[in-house]
């Protein structure tokens, strides 16, 4: 059984038909419930629900405070390498982009870790492009073991692995897996992933499940907003998260809402998501998934992120760079352009000003 079976039950046409027929009464009824059905979740992503953003925000805020408190966990990404064999039209690491490629040596990983550790961050997310030649699982494992000395939680956002490979990394101290489907609509997926192993839609779709079975403590999913119609992508993201929560009770399932950012290459996204729509997605996901962590990266600008603190987000990255080794050096080409360039200290101060407690540590590696 795979989420694909669930995905296949809905055609984009049927979903659009349903949400375009959602009425105000359906939205209001959904907002009165504690636990939403699939149809009620869809109703919150409808055009009709666009008139209820304030009510959705009040509910999402109250649910998040009750479940998580007024706290935001801070983390940062660390790019280990940008070698990649895939041709993804939306990514600077596309194999055809003429950027100098690099990979951190273990010494450089440790130097980067020391720099990041000075900020008092304890949660780190390591990323690479997809290249089993340059960044095999053994390399990821070695880096994770170095980073475990400096951080309480080490998560990975790399190419999809087999279950035994995830198990190997869990044994080495990795406790979190982030893997975005990028785009759930299969036809669009094949259009934006031109060539390379990432073209395998099903292998990627099933990766979160393999991570859960391998014992990953947290598993985070999401779609890259802007590649396909945002309502359908948000729907599938939410349904995928609910499916994983229902099937893998032992894992903490989280979700992210990354919006596409400027990058190298000529691809122009056809489905840019405006701020109002982004907020509707965030609120609908929060109300549908009361226990899911929701992570917000520095793809979003500072002022926008400040407002989103109240709207269901539980984790935020800070002091970010998408450049390989960017925490220790300045030059280099990143995966995408960061929007919120504030330091960890600045983001921490912002969270205090918003009346929330920034949390640096929420896991003890055991």
């Amino acid at each position: 059984m795979s989420f694909y079976k669930e995905y296949q039950k809905f055609s984009a046409k049927e979903l659009n038909q349903f949400i375009n027929n959602v009425t105000s009464q359906m939205v209001q009824r959904a907002l009165e419930k504690d636990r939403l059905s699939q149809e009620e979740f869809l109703a919150l992503l409808s055009p009709a629900a666009g008139n209820y953003l304030e009510q959705m925000a009040q509910k999402a805020h109250q649910m998040t405070v009750q479940q998580f408190g007024k706290v935001i966990l801070l983390y940062t990404p660390m790019y280990l390498a940008d070698y990649c064999v895939n041709q993804c039209v939306y990514c600077s690491f596309n194999v055809h982009n003429p950027i100098p490629r690099s990979k951190l040596s273990p010494v450089e990983v440790e130097a980067g870790a020391k720099e990041i550790a000075k900020t008092e961050l304890k949660h780190i997310l390591i990323l690479t492009g997809e290249s089993r030649k340059h960044t095999p699982v053994s390399y990821i494992k070695e880096c994770a073991q170095i980073l475990r000395k400096y951080f309480s939680s080490v998560s990975i956002e790399i190419y999809p692995l087999l279950e035994e490979e995830y198990r190997e990394l869990v044994a080495a101290g990795v406790d979190g897996l982030t893997i975005y489907q990028e785009v759930y609509q299969e036809e669009v997926y094949h259009q934006v992933h031109v060539k390379g192993p990432k073209k395998n839609y099903l292998f990627r779709l099933d990766a979160p499940e393999r991570g859960c079975r391998a014992g990953m403590r947290t598993v985070n999913i999401g779609a890259l907003l802007g590649l396909a119609d945002w309502r359908t992508e948000a729907i599938f993201s939410g349904l995928h998260a609910r499916y994983l929560q229902d099937k893998y009770l032992e894992s903490e399932i989280g979700i992210s809402v990354p919006r596409i950012r400027p990058h190298l290459g000529e691809f122009q996204p056809a489905n840019l998501v405006e701020d109002k729509s982004f907020v509707q997605i965030l609120l609908a996901l929060r109300i549908f998934l009361p226990r899911a962590g929701i992570a917000l990266s520095t793809r979003e600008n500072a002022l926008f992120r400040d407002h989103l603190v109240y709207l269901g987000v539980t984790k935020m990255s800070a002091g970010s760079t998408t450049v390989v080794g960017g925490h220790s050096k300045e030059e280099g080409s990143g995966q995408f352009a960061i929007c919120d360039e504030r330091t960890v200290e600045q983001v921490k101060d912002m969270i205090y000003r918003q009346g929330y407690q920034p949390i640096f540590k929420d896991w003890e590696a055991i």
Binding site: Q66, F68, G69, E252, Y352, Q357, F360, K361, D362, E364
Partner: protein, 255 residues
Amino acid sequence: MVDKLVIGGRELENRLFVGTGKFANHHLITESINRSGAQVVTMALRRVDLKVRQENVLNFIPKDCVLLPNTSGARTAEEAVKIARIARDSGCGNWVKIEVISDHKYLLPDNYETIRATEILVSEGFVVLPYMSPDLMVAKRLAEVGAAAIMPLGSPIGTNRGLKTKELIRILIEEIKLPIIVDAGIGKPSEAAEAMEMGAAAVLVNTAIATADDPAMMGEAFSLAVRAGRMAYLAGPGATKIYAEASSPLTGFLS
């Protein structure tokens, strides 16, 4: 005679235990504890960072409180045992609240893993307070293996739904000779009073205080409610039993 709760050799006058998660600001933790007079304070070891002076939640817990580290994050008995040992080695004392949850949908505890963890940690000299789903057989087993108290949930963590498991808790209070401390789900001071009126030894409250608009005031409200409920329990029919009584108080006149 002051009514005291004795656990692990400690005498406690305040029967409100408080948690430290979810507060909007660590300073509010201190204010809430001081205003409520709570003497036992739980914290998740996963949030404790002894290397960082400023943000370490331990710095905000008054020094005369009893620390009750919880094993939040543990999915198995082995993980709970490891966390407890780390807590003790880090200077958090030898009390531990066992929280073994492998269900992230409802956050319900795994009673069987909780029994196993209790047995191991009792043998290592911990004062063990296990958090559990109210089940009489499980509570009996926890008592047998040496738990210092039993902490049944009122409703699932964070739901603030009150004493949904009231009847099961009542049975535990009747049958188990250990302090029964109602934990999780208490959303209002009246619900804390209700638990104490039934005969609970104490209650643990986190979400309802931490997420209140005025956590310090809510902490005080809970403390007053716990005292009121305890007094009501002592003042009720059961209270006469602490004094010597005639063996047939109502029909003794017939002999």
